[in-house]
Amino acid sequence: MSPTFKPPSLYRRLLIWLLVPMLALGTLMLIQAYLASRDTADRAFDRLLESASLSIAEQVKRQHGKLWMDLPPAALKMLASNAEERVFYALYDSYGNFISGNAELPRIDTGQGNMRFANIEWHDMALRLGVRRSRLEGWRNRQPFEVRVAHTREGREALTQTLFQGSMLRLIAMALLAIGVVLLGVRMALMPLTRLRRAIRARDPRTLAPLELTLPRELAELRETLNDLLARMRRVRTNQERFIGDASHQLRTPLAGLSARAELALRQDDPRAWHDALDVMRGSADKTARLASQLLSLTRLNNPESSPEAGDVDLCDIARQAVRDALSSSHRAGIDLGVETPSHAVIQHAVHWQLAEALTNLIDNARRYGASRITVRVGEAPRRLEVEDDGPGIPEAQRLLVLRPFHRGMESGQGSGLGLAIVDGIARAHAARLTLGAVHPHAASPGLCVRLQFTEESIP
């Protein structure tokens, strides 16, 4: 993770997901409140237009065969609110001819019923127009006419504003309350996370004890996973501590022996004693050196930081090289070392040096534990490496134990007890199966066949 990259906060994410929809909803509610306020104001004022047009229509009379009206002042007062609106009225006959009034107002064609309303633009003024169709009932004929009344919108808008402001204040109060609740709720919900973090931070980095903390279900799973990891780390550390203890014992003992033997020899004057001491010391030094190099390769194998480069390797190639390397020393020891490989390459995805190391250790082991004939074999389907010898073998009950570091199959053997542990580590790293078996189970010297068989998952 780059240092400049700031990971998203869970708290912030929750807030965004809760507050953005809430704000959107609030906005919709505000719009709706405004529309409702305007509607209410319109209906209230339309009622006034209706009453005004009715009182005008009641004053329409017939005079000299024509329609005529006397404008009732109350009708106009009714329409003029305290917002100083301008009021217009007109009387039209059934043919649309202007008869009387203070302005020529347009007609409304759409709509049904005797009373119709419309918003119109008239001489650069926004007007609300109400048209009432009525007629004068005479004994001879009926005469239809229209009363048109209009006023400017100031009163309506003032009423809309008043109504809307009330709703808006209520809505804002509710929104503030809701935001407060959400902030509090999210903080409360995330509290266990904070507790978990504090608990982890407050721990001594050396303790691997499980985390004891009551947490909600979702976080309890996280805690259990963490505790599992800690348990695995405890096991690893126990193994490591045992390994270090064993290793220091195994390294110190031969060094103490060397030093003591040298001291003893220096106290003596007999050159034969010196020679014997030197002989013993050389053997001991060789053994210690081998132990040290095996310890190092085991450490290297167990170090997760070193990422080995795996590639396609030819098992036959590795087997032949391992045999070639061990050839001269085996020959000097009178051991018949050979290799059996298919005539073509057997390719496996693996870490070259690790497989070479495994074979070196297996050949070495066989040599140290009394084999006189050792065969390195490469098999196909499934791909495998085998090292077979004719030595005393390992009893079945011991076969799992010998994989543990510092366990020695034979107390009289001259091994360090690390060879098979190294091979086991390499097999694990390759997801390969390591098996130890007897070559001739019922013979006096049953021999040992160590097989490293690659599996489907064998890609380290």
Binding site: A289, V323, L327, T341, W353
Partner: protein, 228 residues
């Protein structure tokens, strides 16, 4: 050139190991120069004509590291054989060293026997390169006259056995499989696996009683070596 005149350069900073190797190699009849740090070795080896027949080179040195010295040496086009001695036993270091032109590699700790055997092998390989004489122990082959001598006595061989033995001598100490023999020794002839076994068998009979053995390494082939 015989071993007693060969001059070796030993570059090793550990005093105990350097002294021991100096004594051991001197006892074996070599002239040995010992250097302790990388810079001195670099100056000595970077100039052509230093006169050493073999360099034993440690990788972890004060001053310049062994790999750097080796690299510089090879860039000055020197073909003096180099035997690397190092505590870094890992394969990748070995590969790196061999890539840079080292001739052999010995991981510490090693047995003195092993070191002496490798030194002999490297000096012998060098003789092959510049001489007309091949030597493996008491067996000699003159490539000009095509004549073998074994324990000072002349060894007469039919042509196929002669070619076979000469090839095995060139690669002494290294197992050679039948496929390689068929390809390099009998490439013009159609010969079965069995025929090679017959010739090997005959050669073994001829070498019997000498210090030379012609071993079969199972799976790798035939190996000619001197027991001495």
């Amino acid at each position: 050139m015989t071993p007693d005149t060969a001059s070796l350069l030993l570059v090793e900073d550990d005093a105990l190991l350097a002294d021991t190797l100096y004594d051991a190699l001197s006892l074996a009849g070599y002239r040995v120069d010992a250097l302790e740090d990388g810079d001195a070795a670099f100056t000595r080896l970077a100039t052509p004509g230093h006169g050493h027949a073999l360099v034993l080179l440690d990788l972890n040195l004060p001053g310049r590291g062994g790999l750097e010295i080796l690299d510089a040496m090879r860039r000055h086009d020197q073909d003096t054989p180099v035997l690397i001695l190092t505590a870094r036993g890992a394969i990748e270091d070995r590969v790196k060293g061999l890539d840079l032109g080292a001739d052999d590699y010995l991981a510490k700790p090693f047995a003195l026997d092993e070191l002496e055997a490798r030194v002999r092998a490297l000096l012998r390989r060098r003789q092959h390169d510049d001489g007309t004489q091949l030597h493996v122990g008491t067996l000699h082959f003159d490539t000009l006259t095509q004549r073998f001598t074994l324990d000072e006595a002349s060894l007469d061989l039919p042509p196929r056995e002669q070619r076979l033995l000469a090839y095995l001598m060139r690669h002494a100490g290294e197992p050679i499989d039948k496929a390689r023999l068929l390809e390099h020794v009998f490439s013009n002839e159609t010969l079965g696996d069995n025929a090679i076994e017959v010739y090997i068998h005959r050669l073994r009979r001829r070498l019997a009683g000498s210090s030379l053995t012609l071993r079969t390494v199972r799976g790798l082939g035939y190996l000619l070596e001197s027991e001495a």
